[in-house]
Each structure stands twice: as C-alpha cells, then as structure tokens.
C-alpha cells in the first residue's frame, strides 16, 4: 500500500534552536485512523498543526523537513490549498456563530469564494450532514444558528463543514475532549465509518480512545516520535520502554 502522507524529518520550533517537534519521520496510509498519543506538551498538536500549515498564522514558528501529501510537499504549496486538502477539527467545537447550520456546512466554499448552484449546495449540505449522522436531527432547523446545537452536535457540524470540502486527510485535535461520554461515543462510531472514505489522524490523550478506534498509533515524547506502529501491537507489546511506561501509567 502506498502512503498518502509522508513525514520526513519534520521539526517545528516556537523559539529558535528549541524544537517542539524534533525530526519526526513516518508514513500514514490511506483509509486508516492514526492516533497520536503522548503526555501534555510532547508536541502532538504541534505536529498535527504542521501538516495543514496552521503554524503559518503565527510569527516565529519554524517548520522544517518535508511533509508529502499525495506526492506534493505541503511546505512548498499554497497554504490555502493545503488546508482545503487537509481538513481540521478542533478541541473546542467552533461552528461560526453568525451563520446558520446550513451556511456553516457551506462555509468552506463561501470562505474560499467558490460559488455554488442551489442544487449543488443542497446536495453538499445533505451529504455532509448525512455522513456525520446529523441530517435527521437538524434538517428542519437548517436556518437556525449553529451555536444553538448541543456540544456533540456542534462538533459533528464542524466535522461536516470539513468533509464538505472533500479533503484528503482529516486532522483532529482532541475532538472529543470537550464532550460528554455519549457524544464522544457517537463521534468515535462516526470516525470508524468515515475512515472508509478518508484518512484520519487524531490527537488524543485518551488512551482507551486510541485503543478503541485507531489502526495505528504514534507515541510522542518531548517532541520526538518514540514509536509508531499497529495499535494492538503497541498496546500489547510496545517496543520501546518509554511507550510501555506511558501506556501503563508510570507517567503521563
């Protein structure tokens, strides 16, 4: 199988000379869920945000190495194009409060200045909301503001908004950490379905979540990628001592 995303010696630094992510090299395969685990401050979110060039938004953040998405180096592409190819879901659900549910789903198109016909819009909205299992719950309240939904519904709306742009990979930064267990469960089920069409990379500090949903797992510590492999194997027979200590709760 051919990797959809290849990281080669990727380093990110917030202050010169000090790498928050240090020379991470690994491959991500299509239609898998990869969980990035590790203690707070280990650089997992920083690595995730390097993939869709979110670090460009802030001065003084340096990303080096190569991030090859579908054969092209992300660091040499137009960041706007990168971000359309690599959708991101955040920790805190962030539907746009000034837009209706309908407009939230289409926000990616509006924000990129892409005009769609009415039929096309209806189709994208229904399809995207269906794929996050939100359609039945909101189809009669499309004109209401996105912020009127529950936390879990808001997060699914944000996923739908990302899916509407038909990205290659879905980057999720602790997407359930602000949600209750039932909503978390729903999102996890959703991700298992979505991996049939998308490649998902999820940052989580919830180990049981990683065990439940991911095919592969990456363990990061102090900016370095300590171990990356099959999730079951990593949880049962970790190759590295640090990984084992983390998974068994010696530190975290």
């Amino acid at each position: 199988m051919k990797a959809i995303l290849r990281l080669k010696e990727v380093s990110v630094s917030y202050t010169p000379g000090k790498n928050a992510v240090d020379k991470v090299t690994t491959d991500i395969y299509p239609n898998t869920i990869t969980a990035i685990m590790g203690p707070s401050g280990c650089g997992k979110s920083t690595l995730l945000r390097a993939i869709n060039r979110m670090h460009d938004l802030y001065a003084n953040v340096q990303t080096t190495g190569e991030i090859i998405l579908k054969g092209r180096n992300v660091l040499e592409m137009d960041p706007m194009e990168v971000r359309r190819m690599a959708g991101m879901v955040f920790q805190q659900p962030n539907p746009f409060p000034t837009m209706s549910i309908y407009d939230n789903v289409l926000a990616g198109y509006t924000l990129n200045g892409i005009r769609l016909g009415k039929n096309e819009k209806e189709e994208i909205v229904e399809q995207s909301l269906q794929s996050v299992a939100l359609w039945d719950e909101v189809k009669d309240v499309m004109t209401k503001r996105g912020s009127f939904l529950s936390g879990g519904q808001q997060q699914r709306l944000c996923i739908a908004r990302t899916l509407a742009l038909k990205p290659e990979v879905l980057l999720m930064d602790e997407p359930t950490s602000a949600l209750d267990p039932i909503s978390t469960n729903k999102i996890e089920e959703l991700l298992l379905q979505l991996k049939q069409q998308f490649t998902i990379i999820i940052v989580t500090h919830n180990m049981s979540q990683a065990a439940r949903i991911s095919d592969n797992a990456m363990f990061m510590y102090l900016g370095e990628l300590v171990e990356h492999g099959n999730t079951t194997q990593m949880f049962t027979k970790p190759r590295n001592k640090r990984t084992e200590e983390y998974l068994t709760g010696v530190f975290g």
């Binding site: 971000r83 959708g87 926000a107 944000c158």
Partner: protein, 286 residues
Amino acid sequence: MNKDSIFRFLLSTAALLVLLFTAGIIYALVSRSTEAFQEYGVWGFVGNAEWDPRSATEEYGALSFILGTLYTSFFALLLCIPFSLAVALFNGEYYKGKKISSAVRSIVDLLAGIPSIVYGLWGFYTLRPLVIALGVSAQGFGIFLSSVVLAIMIIPYASSLSSEFLSMVPNNLKEGAYSLGATQIEVVQYISLPSAGSGIVASYILALGRALGETMAVTMLIGNTNRIPRGLSDTGNTMASVIANQFGEADGLKLSSLIAIGLLLFIITAVINLIAKLIMKKISLI
C-alpha cells in the same frame, strides 16, 4: 460610628449628590424651557424653522438647528467610517498585539485629547483655505468644513471601541476559518466583521453621540446662519453652536428657546447613548 459605617455614609452621600446634580440639571432645563414650549407647543417649536429675534416679529423654532446638527453629525460619521474602520482592523486584527499597533493606538488616542478649540483653530486657519481652494464654498465656512473636522474628532472614539470588539473575536473561530482554506481578508469579511458587527455599530453610535453635542469647533466653523442648510456647502448652525453663539445676549423668550434647544439636545444624546449601551449589553450577554 465605626470606620466602616462612616466610609459607607460618605460614599452614599457622594453618590446621592451626583444624582441630585443630574436631577438639578434636568429640572433647570425643563423649568426654564417651559416658556418657549408654552408659547409654541412642543411640536410647534420643534417643527418651526424660523429663528427671528427682531422684537417686532419675534419668533423662535428649533428645526433649522436640529437639521443642522443631523446633517453635520451624520456626514461626519460617514466620513469617519473608512478611517476608523481601517484603524480598528489595523489594531484589532492585522497587527493585534504588535508594537506598531500600540503605537498607532496611542497616536489615535492623542487625537481624542486635543481640545476642541484647537481643532477649531486648525479648521479655521488650515482647512478653511483648503475648502475655499477646492471650491466647495466661497467663504469656506459651513456644514462641509464642520463635518470634516468633526469626523477627525470622533475617529478615536469609533476606532478604539471597534478595535476592542474586533480583538475579542475568539481565536478558535478564526482558526476554524483558516483551516478551511480562507485567506486573511476572507476571515475578516466572513468571520471577524460579522462577529464584532453589533459592537462596531455600537461604537459608531457612541461616536455619533459625541458629534451631536460637539460645540466649540463647530461654532467656529459652521458659519452661524439661522436657517435650514441647503446643502453641504451651505452655512448653518447646530443646536450646540446656536446656544454657544447667542446665549450671551439672550433673555426672555429667546433665552427660554435656547434652553429648550439645550433640553432637546440633551434628550437626543441621551437616547443615542442608551441605544449604544443596549446593543453592547446584548453582546456581553451572548
């Protein structure tokens, strides 16, 4: 009495005195304007554009000045919008938290500290010849000149509050938009401005409130004619400027009419400020 209760007593007395001052001002305005309102009726006074102090044909109405005030203030507001919005976006969005933004902020705040009479002088000696040279009006004085100076005077009020509201737009909303491939201008257009929208509107309403009551500079620049201005290049008088110009030589019905204009101005600015406060209160509740 112990220290606590003495302090409490002093505080309540001071607060009560402020209330009494306010009540006293309103009482004085109302009682001394009654003569004019009794003579013409409230709507007769408000709706009449005649202002004739000659004793044989004495007649007073506020309409010319109400319209003069509205013309200058709204035109000033219109002129101030592009500049204050630019400053607000510069400080609250594009250079938020940067050194250059606090420098710009200090300079703009400096504008707010310039005394009105200084603006008047500058308008009189620097802008007026320019207005004449541009051919807007022969004398230079008038609605146009006053509005330009007013616009500059209210830029700091409009821009500092709106940049405050812009910088309050949650970062996770902006990141959400960027993550969908938006450019900065698209984030401003679709996320920041709509989110800060009602706050920005409230800042402009407050700025309008300042423009309505501004007296000294306008009195020096508007040309002081007691009729409805026929256009931007025409001279006129605002409610504040007619009072400033004529109170010294007024008595009887004329004085009462001037005070009535003062009362009307007080009511208009109070209502404008109330509207702005209500909008801002509604935002903070979200």
